[in-house]
């Protein structure tokens, strides 16, 4: 690796991503009580930190390759994706009422996490030669079916959150691919009309989550408990926060899932509005750079990839943080680069590596 290579890196994006990961390690540490003598110790922070370093190393290594070669593997990756998701259905073990995990030695993998990036790549490959030609339902249906299969497999796990991410990716990418806006509007309209029908296909706990989202006090000790406690945690952080390790909601376990899905509430409680707004600004930089990279991409495939990755990350940020603050229903999707979870971390670092790779290739003409 030489200086020229380095000069072609998007440092703004890198700094934002690394800053989020560092904040994540500190917050996971606090949420898992590394300060308390009796509690679990550094296990979670260590694992997350080690995987962050390994993934960054892998990402640096992958910079040697050109993302454009991925286009050729679009179909194969798609098949692998479907096989993986089927494997989860057949061999996966379940936790918390959902079958999402595959045990590989000491590591528990969550294939639906990886499937999001694989989906982006294969969808970008598919859409690449269809840009500007998505004008009718007939044009769109094959693509919808292409996304629909993995979507249904994830929904069946059941993992409503991740399946909704698929829709976000789908919508973001076909929008960038120039889908006819009237057609897009019609799809939205149909979706709204169909929602009462879809309601019947939801599991009871999913219905409950939506009801609780509309009014957490429907079930204050059950599903509503998470939202209420999370809002209390964030709100009680006030402007400057209670201080690291001082968040009573988190430290005394009133806040459930505080190192995974509700990690933003720990930030809000312990670092206050200042910390929460700072983290959100880091995400803004990250996502803003994502769209810039799409704009500057040297080819349509790269542009579609960048839009897909950014759509995925943006949807995660919106739904996860919105959920902790009571403006989105509880869907259980993690906060990118923040939530504890090896599969999600790997997926997100790979996604950002993809953005950087696209960025690197854009200026080839200049040098």
């Amino acid at each position: 690796m030489n200086k020229r290579w380095l000069r072609r890196m998007d440092f703004t994006l890198i700094i934002a991503a690394v800053a989020i990961i560092l904040m994540s390690l500190v917050t996971i540490g606090s949420a898992t009580h590394i300060n308390a003598a009796s509690a679990g110790g550094y296990g979670f922070v260590q694992r997350q930190g080690v995987f962050a370093v390994l993934n960054i190393a892998l990402a640096v290594f992958l910079m040697n390759f050109d993302y454009k070669m991925l286009q050729r593997y679009g179909t194969k990756l798609y098949v692998v994706n479907i096989v993986l998701l089927l494997a989860v259905m057949l061999f996966g073990h379940s936790a918390l009422g959902a079958q999402r995990w595959i045990q590989l030695g000491p590591i528990t993998l969550q294939p639906s996490e990886f499937s999001k990036v694989i989906m982006i790549i294969s969808l970008a490959a598919l859409l690449e030669d269809k840009v500007g030609k998505l004008n009718s339902l007939r044009d769109l249906l094959p693509i919808a079916a292409f996304v629909g299969l993995p979507f249904v497999l994830v929904l069946k796990q059941p993992d409503l959150g991740t399946s909704l991410v698929f829709i976000a990716i789908f919508l973001g990418m076909i929008f960038a691919a120039g889908v006819n806006l009237k057609l897009l509007g019609a799809i939205f309209g149909a979706g709204v009309l169909a929602s009462p029908v879809l309601w019947h296909f939801l599991k009871d706990y999913q219905k409950m989550r939506i009801l609780v989202f509309l009014d957490p006090n429907v079930d204050p000790l059950g599903s509503g408990y998470h939202i209420i406690q999370s809002e209390i945690a964030i709100g009680s952080g006030q402007l400057f926060g209670k201080g690291l390790f001082e968040g009573t909601q988190s430290q005394l376990d009133f806040l459930p899932e505080n190192h995974t899905d509700f990690i933003f509430a720990v930030v809000g409680e312990e670092m206050g509005f200042i910390g929460a707004a700072f983290l959100l600004l880091l995400y803004l930089i990250l996502l803003w750079r994502g769209i810039r990279i799409a704009q500057d991409a040297s080819d349509t495939f790269g542009m579609l990839l960048a839009v897909g990755v950014t759509s995925m990350l943006a949807f995660h940020v919106l739904v996860n943080i919105g959920m902790t603050m009571g403006i989105m229903p509880v869907t259980g999707i993690p906060l990118p680069l923040m939530s504890y979870g090896v599969s999600a971390l790997t997926t997100n670092i790979m996604a950002i590596a993809l953005l950087l790779n696209i960025y690197m290739k854009k200026q080839r003409l200049i040098f």
């Binding site: 960038a176 209390i232 709100g235 402007l239 009573t248 005394l252 009133f254 803004l284 943006a314 919105g322």
Partner: protein, 599 residues
């Protein structure tokens, strides 16, 4: 076409900015705009105020002997914080503690808030070990150490001391403003009730930080409880014990069930002993009385929870002749020396002495000492009911003495007004005769009977009876010292009181109590027997007395319900009380006991 893509990507950028701005705005709303409210809720989540119950004040007798204290008791309680108690845990606990399941269920159902639900107190080490060692089988079950009232002498003095129990819903509603809270212990009877506020002290508390399971993490703040005040009573516990024994022995001897006795110092109003039978053990109430015990007390026809010495109202019988005699001499309807012939049957009403005894010629003192009904019928006839009423009221009858105990009765003074008001009928002369010998529309409490005798002993001075000598705080500082309170003085010539005293003195020498006292009683005693007619059953026996005659410091009133003649039922009790009071039973006499040198 390219321009179109640029626009779409710019739109996506805008969308992203919008999302982030929306999220920051929401965070600002929660954290800055509503931050205070959420901070309050967060504190409410993590903090619990755990009350530290103040130790209740101690009772001492007049010699500084401790009578009522507090002792630690292990209580098995339920604490449902995050989840309801599982039914199988309740079943297990019910078997372990031998408490019916329904009883536990009822308590759990009635429970609100964070206070533990107390299931059983005074649990032994065997049960504590089981619960501690198998704590996994008893989730939500905790063991608390509670200070409970310890009545060291069980039923002795129960009617003076009273008892305590957990505050009931209705009491809570009535007394919420006075600072009472759910689960508080409150005095229900006797001094415990009257002085509850002084005895209970001020509860302290700990502000404890708890985790989500309710387990305390650290103490954030602490307010120490302030112990209740200690009470030094006028009661002489030794004399109280002797009085109780005298009453009990006599009751079992004659087969009676109910009785009452009061012992006072007539020169001050200090109450030295109060006994009421049947009694109860206040210790039964400290953990909430069991169904069986409550049934036993509540269904006893003689009502153990009644303090008959101040609540019971009885016809005064011949003890009322003290009032009639004082009135007759003061109003000069008779001279001390006028001889009246008891012919057996008085012309009006055709009544005479019980048993038809005819005593012949009598002057005032011999009529009083022999309790001659004929003579006092004549006095009543000469006085008329109005004057009789006036003197009865002068003695303080028909009104509460104001003793510091709850549920005192007023008694009843014979009057035209009463009869007209309640019976809508005019007064007949024959009723005056009944009133003159303490029957008819005439009721007194044993305490009032003692007061009447005490006024004669104290040359007409009527002191308010009181039970508390001083109230002392936990540091030993005297907060209040009670002094004798002169309520009134009999508005009669000294000569009259001397004549009445003379007649009463002869009662134990040659009169109705002479048989019991005999010739050799070493202390000069004045007394008066009485027999209260009882339409419901056997007559009640009365005896009132004071001594030593020259300088009295003891007055006694005794009534034995359904005991028959006072001379046979009540006098033996009175005699034994006087023996104890004057040290004739081998003990230290009251007047010389260390605590009583103060006057």
């Amino acid at each position: 076409m390219l321009h179109e893509f640029e626009l779409r990507l710019k739109f996506l950028s805008g969308l992203i900015v919008l999302v982030i701005v929306l999220l920051i705005a929401r965070a600002g709303y929660l954290q800055v705009y509503q931050g205070d409210e959420y901070a309050r809720r967060s504190d409410g989540n993590r903090t619990r105020l755990v009350p530290t119950v103040a130790s209740r004040g101690t009772f001492y007798d007049c010699n500084g002997l401790s009578i009522v204290e507090n002792r630690p008791s292990f209580v098995v309680s339920l604490l449902p914080l995050t989840a309801p108690i599982q039914p199988e845990v309740i079943t297990r606990l019910s078997e372990l503690l031998h408490v019916p399941r329904e009883e536990i269920d009822a308590k759990v159902k009635a429970h609100t808030g964070y206070e533990p639900i107390r299931i059983k107190g005074d649990v032994g080490a065997d049960i504590l070990t089981v619960i501690e060692e198998q704590s996994a089988l008893y989730p939500g079950v905790i063991i608390e150490v509670q200070a409970v009232r310890d009545y060291l002498y069980k039923a002795q003095g129960a009617h003076i001391l009273g008892y305590v129990s957990e505050i009931s819903e209705t009491e809570l509603d009535e007394r919420k403003d006075e600072g009472y809270r759910t689960g508080d212990i409150i005095g229900q009877f006797g001094l415990e009730r009257i002085y509850d506020k002084e005895l209970r002290g001020t509860n302290g508390g700990e502000l404890v930080e708890v985790d989500v399971t309710g387990k305390p993490v650290q103490i954030l703040g602490q307010k120490d409880p302030i112990s209740g005040h200690d009470f030094h009573l006028t009661i002489d516990w030794r004399l109280q014990a002797a009085t109780e024994k005298a009453v009990d022995d006599q009751l079992s001897l004659i087969g009676a069930q109910a009785a009452a006795a009061v012992v006072m110092n007539p020169q001050t109003g200090e109450v030295l002993a109060i006994v009421s039978r049947p009694a109860f053990d206040p210790n039964l109430f400290v953990h909430g009385i069991s169904e069986a015990n409550w049934k036993m007390i509540n269904e006893n026809p003689n009502d153990p929870l009644d303090n008959k010495a101040i609540t019971g109202e009885y016809p005064p019988g011949s003890t009322f002749k003290i009032v009639t005699g004082t009135a007759a001499l003061s109003e000069e309807v008779v001279t001390p020396n006028e001889m009246i012939l008891d012919t057996g049957v008085y012309w009006l009403g055709e009544k005479g002495n019980a048993g038809g005894e005819v005593l012949g010629w009598l002057d005032f003192t011999s009529a009083l000492s022999h309790s001659d009904n004929y003579y006092f019928y004549e006095m009543g006839y000469r006085l008329g009911v109005d004057r009789l009423e006036r003197y009865a009221r002068m003695f303080g009858l028909g009104e509460k003495t104001g003793i510091n105990l709850p549920y005192e009765s007023e008694g009843l003074v014979p009057s035209r007004e009463y009869k007209e008001k309640y019976l809508d009928d005019e007064w007949y002369d024959s009723e005056t005769l009944d009133a003159a010998i303490g029957q008819g529309f005439n009721l007194v409490t044993p305490l009032q009977a003692a007061m009447v005798m005490g006024e004669i002993a104290a040359n007409g001075k009527r002191f308010q009876p009181y039970l508390v000598h001083k109230i002392v705080d936990a540091d030993g500082k005297v907060l209040k010292e009670f002094q004798p309170k002169l309520l009134s003085t009999l508005d009669v010539p000294d000569e009259v009181i001397r004549l009445v005293q003379q007649g009463l003195r002869d009662v134990t020498k040659e009169g109705t109590a002479a048989g019991v006292f005999g010739a050799g009683f070493p202390v000069d005693i004045a007394g008066k027997t009485g027999t209260a007619e009882n339409s419901q059953g056997a007559d009640h026996g009365w005896f009132v007395a004071y001594g030593p005659f020259a300088n009295p410091n003891i007055v006694v009133a005794v009534i034995v319900e359904n005991g028959g003649f006072g001379s046979q039922s009540a006098v033996p009790i009175g005699k034994r009380i006087l023996e104890a009071a004057f040290g004739l039973d081998g003990s230290i006499p009251f007047a010389e006991a260390p605590g009583n040198k103060r006057r």
